[in-house]
């Protein structure tokens, strides 16, 4: 890709002092974060670090106790969840949230329809065929082309995770947030997921919460590490690998220098 590295990339997402308390639990406590357009950012952290809550705040499923969220310069702190997709914000879920009784194609079709609008329309029109074509293309990209008619509830775990990513992609996002896309995947499946993420349009800003270091560190150009609702480290994958605090908190043991060759247990 011939991106002009000299020109500063616009800020896609900016969080200022973002906090979210559930009773006495400070799930997210004063997070400041800036992600540039087209950046690939991994968010790491042990369980309970507040990563998913951070995603819920950005996608609008939970509203913050304090702080501000900006997307492409627009403050969206109090914009309802369903309107955020119009700004190019899509997400996936840690535990698959699929339309279990609908087919794979219908699942992705719904994601396209949601982004395009017009879902109160009680008649079928020509554009629905076009949406289905788009849905087929997305299914093809994530490797579900031969499972189009299968009910989402009948898919294997790996296929369900692929469909999760497909639902995120179908809305043609500018900012794509993936919540542990590799959770429970086999090494082979993780490999193809990594390939898919690397092949994304470079204009798409990617935020990945991931436990699997191989996927996270191969895909990401920068890494944010969270612990107890706060950001404790930020930097390039190499910096993070070298960071002693991160090791103590999260990695537990030194990562092999090559990093990429390691296959998770």
């Amino acid at each position: 890709m011939t991106t002009v590295q000299a020109a500063p990339r616009p800020v896609a997402l900016r969080l200022r002092g973002l906090s979210c308390h559930f009773g006495g639990v400070h799930a997210v406590a004063g997070v400041d974060l800036e992600v540039a357009g087209g950046e690939r950012r991994a968010i790491l952290g042990p369980n309970g670090a507040g990563k998913t809550t951070l995603f819920n705040l950005i996608s609008g499923e939970v509203f913050p106790t304090a702080g501000q969220i900006e997307v492409f310069g627009q403050v969206i702190t109090w914009v309802p969840s369903r309107k955020r997709i119009r700004l190019g914000l899509t997400r996936t879920y840690q535990t698959s949230r699929l339309f279990r009784m609908l087919s794979v194609l219908e699942n992705i079709y719904l994601a396209v329809l949601g982004a395009e609008g017009g879902h109160m329309r009680p008649v079928r029109l020509r554009q629905d065929r076009e949406y289905r074509t788009r849905a087929r293309e997305v299914a093809d990209r994530v490797g579900l082309a031969d499972r189009l008619d299968a009910a989402a509830g009948s898919l294997s775990h790996g296929e369900q995770r692929q469909l999760e990513v497909a639902l995120g992609l179908a809305g043609r996002p500018k900012i794509l947030m993936l919540d542990e896309p590799a959770a429970g995947l086999s090494p082979a499946e993780r490999g193809s997921l990594t390939g898919l993420l690397l092949s994304l349009d470079p204009a798409v800003t990617l935020l990945v919460v991931e436990h699997d270091m191989d996927v996270a560190l191969r895909v990401a150009e920068s890494v944010t590490v969270m612990h107890e609702g706060r950001i404790v480290a930020e930097g390039s994958p190499a910096d993070i690998r070298a960071n002693q605090r991160v090791h103590d908190l999260y990695l537990g043991q030194p990562h092999s220098p090559s990093g990429e060759g390691r296959v998770g247990a």
């Binding site: 309802p80 997709i85 009784m101």
Partner: protein, 348 residues
């Protein structure tokens, strides 16, 4: 469902069996449709009226419950209240104001839908058991409203409602009434069949499966739920109009808690997941209700036992049993249904 020519996988004999089973099903369905179409000619006036008209009308009302449950995932107990509103409106307009029956019916359906949309706008923000409780409360409120407000005749209700001349006198000759109920049933069935394949229909099914994700995908979930509730009310209102024409009167007894439970019983016996279950359940219910007094006074016990037997045999009700038999035969003859989506079948 899309019909496909199957490539012959396992030799001529099996393909033959697959074809025969398909033809057998088509013949069976055609036979049933023929009988349904000719009920007034084939059966006695009593049967056509008491069993025929009643089960079609109750079927439409139960179908509104099943539509909401199977497609949108909302269990509503307000459907009796809604058909009550439609029935009372028709009675009030036709008997006291002398409005033309068709006009009265149109106004009644409109008023019912508007009331349902207002109610739905509030209730649709709750889910599951909470939604169920709110609709139950509304059913009870409607009952007490109509049984205590004197302009609606209090406990007496309103008598002397006459159906449009076109439909004749239901108890003398039920033919007109029967075909009116049949046409309404078929149109509603086809309408929902079409609707579930439109963007609106898919959105409703998405709301049933994953409302949280639907919100994140950009759908207005409360609006979708409200609209679906309004459509359910439209169906219930048609049942209410037919009911009041058929009975020639409406009283609070027709919308009390017992009737609410009856309707839910019909929907569950027929199968909460498939629309056709509504009419199957209504037919069985009406038959038991009509003929059981010959043998026993304990109708409630009897229908309770039928209810238990059906749901123990199949959580999908009678429609689920029929679907199960079909799948069993198809497996036996080798037309293997892989895990493709069977419309309305919830995966366990």
């Amino acid at each position: 469902m899309k019909r496909r020519r199957f490539p012959p996988p396992l030799g001529v004999g099996r393909v033959g069996a697959v074809q025969s089973w398909r033809w057998l099903k088509r013949l069976g369905l055609a036979g049933i449709l023929l009988v349904v179409l000719l009920v007034p000619q084939l059966f006695s006036t009593f049967f056509a009226s008491t069993i025929g008209v009643q089960s079609l009308v109750l079927g439409i009302a139960a179908a509104s419950i099943i539509f909401l449950n199977a497609i949108v995932g909302m269990v509503s107990l307000a459907q009796t209240a809604l058909y009550g509103i439609a029935a009372y409106t028709v009675a009030k307009l036709a008997v006291e104001q002398g409005v033309d029956p068709w006009m009265a019916a149109l106004v009644a359906v409109l008023i019912t839908v508007v009331v349902a949309l207002m109610f739905g706008a509030v209730a649709s923000r709750s889910e599951g058991i909470y939604f169920l409780m709110i609709t139950l409360a509304s059913a009870v409120i409607a009952y007490y409203f109509f049984s205590q407000v004197t302009t609606f005749g209090s406990h007496e209700g309103i008598n002397g409602v006459v159906p449009p001349a076109l439909l004749g006198k239901p108890f003398v000759d039920p033919t007109g009434m029967y075909y009116a109920a049949l046409i309404c049933s078929v149109l509603i069935y086809l309408l929902i069949w079409y609707l579930r394949r439109t963007p609106f229909g898919y959105a409703l099914q998405g709301v049933r499966d994953e409302p949280v994700r639907m919100r994140a995908l950009g759908f207005n979930v409360p609006l979708l739920r409200t609209a679906a509730f309004g459509f359910g009310a439209f169906m219930a209102a048609i049942a209410g109009v037919l009911l009041v024409w058929y009975n020639s009167n409406i009283s609070p007894g027709a919308i009390d808690l017992t009737r609410t439970i009856d309707l839910l019983t019909i929907a569950v016996i027929g199968g909460l997941r498939r629309l056709e279950g509504a009419w199957i359940g209504a037919l069985l219910f009406t038959i038991v209700q009509t003929y059981s007094p010959k043998y026993t006074d304990r109708f409630e016990t009897l229908i309770g036992l039928v209810f238990l037997a059906v749901i123990l045999a199949s959580p999908g009700g009678l429609a689920g049993i029929l679907g199960g038999v079909d799948r069993w035969v198809r497996r036996r003859i080798g037309e293997v249904g892989t895990a493709t989506v069977a419309p309305g079948q919830r995966q366990p």
